[in-house]
Amino acid sequence: MNIPADLKYTESHEWVRREEDGSLTVGITEYAQDALGDIVFVELPQVGKAFNAGDDAAVVESVKAASDIYSPVSGTVSAVNQPVADAPDSINSDAYSAWLFKLTPTDAGAFDKLLDADAYGKTTGN
């Protein structure tokens, strides 16, 4: 199971990348898309919405199950990936390029406290 070393992770299977401008890009991991099966619906947050860490931010549904996606840190949504909402199965094809939303974090240091690839790997038995 692929867990890129240059990303950070949450226990709820979100991956997070810090961009050069400090914004954070969020998606779900390969492990998560595999567990869900064929993804058929994605609901993204509104740009401008503010979240605390752990708030429900998005929904990803497969035929089997509806899965809540949580905001990994506190922040405000700066962009959403509409093409993924229009083609939900792209998450199954490449979970690490099918990002869901970007956040402007309220605390720049919060990113560093997320799980690294090894620690996330341990939580999924990889």
Partner: protein, 372 residues
């Protein structure tokens, strides 16, 4: 608790199937993509391990009379050997104990196929009715114990042709057989084979029973003939598109079959008495069973979501999914009597009320989308 396994368990694992606990059975939910498996059945041929379901043989001079009283549908519709009938078996309150198919093989031999999770309950009920009625038939379940039969369902427009490649001895006996009939072919390469032109997908095909010890070899021969293994995920999207009920979800012992869209399977016309008839006539129908197609974005239709009719009366979705053939969320729902086909209703999903159209079932049959 150890899960029960069918004779095909190693074959599924060798194919890389994702396995799940299905009512106490270790079963494949998919072999990679349930959407691809679904599409293979609609366009070509796919197959399902249904060896967890249970063949029950009923034999004896009074078998027909016994079944006339036991089943809600009328076995007197079965006059030509080989003919099959879909029926519910009701309790005295007209609740559904199970749905099943009954095959007429001979006046002293009818064969039933019942659901996996209800088999023990069904056989116990039948034994009790056998005693209570004095019918004196013998009731033998053929799944656990001696002489077991394992079932494999091969479905799709090319299903029968591919089955005949693997079972050439069966072709002459089965190629002119009409839908909802069965033939038993004694001498195939995999032993005695029961070949029924029935299924749970809305496509043509065969449900095949062979001695359990031959099931794995037969499955592997089907794989080699280009039949795509398909798991429980695809089985559910296919049967839902085909408007076919799932026991335990669309109906159960607390549900009157008239409220589950099953009036067509009940013979209330003849004078025949059967278990549950009086309660059924007393209760009548109180809900309609319809198809829904979601018309607004906002999620997938799922079991137990509430449905609001224009009148403000509530209904409930019993089964829902995302239809691969239609690319829309669809559902089966129990709704109030004041709802009509063509109406718009609203489904409550995550605090929103999303519009859905009420349609006649089935959604899809023989590869064609009928409801839109």
């Amino acid at each position: 608790m150890t899960l029960k396994a069918t004779p095909l368990n190693s074959a599924h694992r060798a194919l890389g199937a994702k396995m799940v606990d299905f009512g106490g059975w270790d079963m494949p939910v998919n072999y990679g993509s349930q959407i691809e498996e679904h599409n293979a059945v609609r366009s070509d041929a796919g197959m399902f391990d249904v060896a967890h379901m249970c063949v029950v043989d009923i034999k004896g001079a009074n078998t027909r009379a016994f079944l006339r009283g036991l089943l809600a549908n009328n076995v007197d519709k079965l006059q030509v050997p080989g003919k099959a009938l879909y029926s519910c078996m009701l309790n005295t309150e007209a609740g559904v104990i199970d749905d099943l198919i009954v095959y007429f093989l001979a006046e002293d031999w009818f064969r039933l196929v019942v659901n996996a999770g209800t088999a023990d309950k069904d056989v116990a009920w039948m034994n009790a009715q056998n005693v209570a009625s004095g019918a004196g038939v013998t009731i033998t379940q053929r799944r656990d114990g001696n002489d077991p039969i394992a079932l494999i369902a091969v479905q799709g427009p090319n299903a029968r042709a591919k089955v005949w490649q693997v079972l050439p001895n069966a072709q002459a006996a089965s190629e002119n057989m009409k839908p909802f009939n069965v033939v038993i072919v004694p001498d195939t390469a995999f032993g005695e084979a029961m070949i029924a032109r029935t299924g749970y997908t809305g496509e043509d095909g065969f449900e095949i029973g062979v001695p359990a010890a031959q099931a794995e070899a037969l499955w592997n021969a089907f794989v080699a003939a280009g039949i795509a293994p398909a798991g429980l995920g695809a089985r559910d999207t296919l049967r839902l598109e085909a408007g076919m009920n799932l026991y335990g979800q669309d109906m159960d012992e607390t549900v009157n079959p008239l409220d589950a869209g099953l009036a067509w399977t009940i013979d209330l016309v003849s004078e025949r008495d059967f278990i549950g008839k009086a309660a059924l006539q007393a209760k009548g129908q109180n809900f309609q069973f319809v198809g829904l197609i979601l018309r607004e974005k906002g999620g997938i239709l799922r079991a137990h979501q509430r449905v609001v009719a224009a009148s403000g009366n509530f209904g409930e979705i019993t089964s829902g999914t995302f239809s691969p053939s239609m690319q829309q969320a669809i559902a089966l729902a129990r709704v109030p009597m004041d709802v009509a086909v063509g109406d718009t209703v609203h489904v409550i999903i995550r605090d929103k009320q999303l519009a859905a159209s009420v349609v006649k079932l089935p959604f899809v049959r023989n590869g064609k989308v009928l409801a839109a």
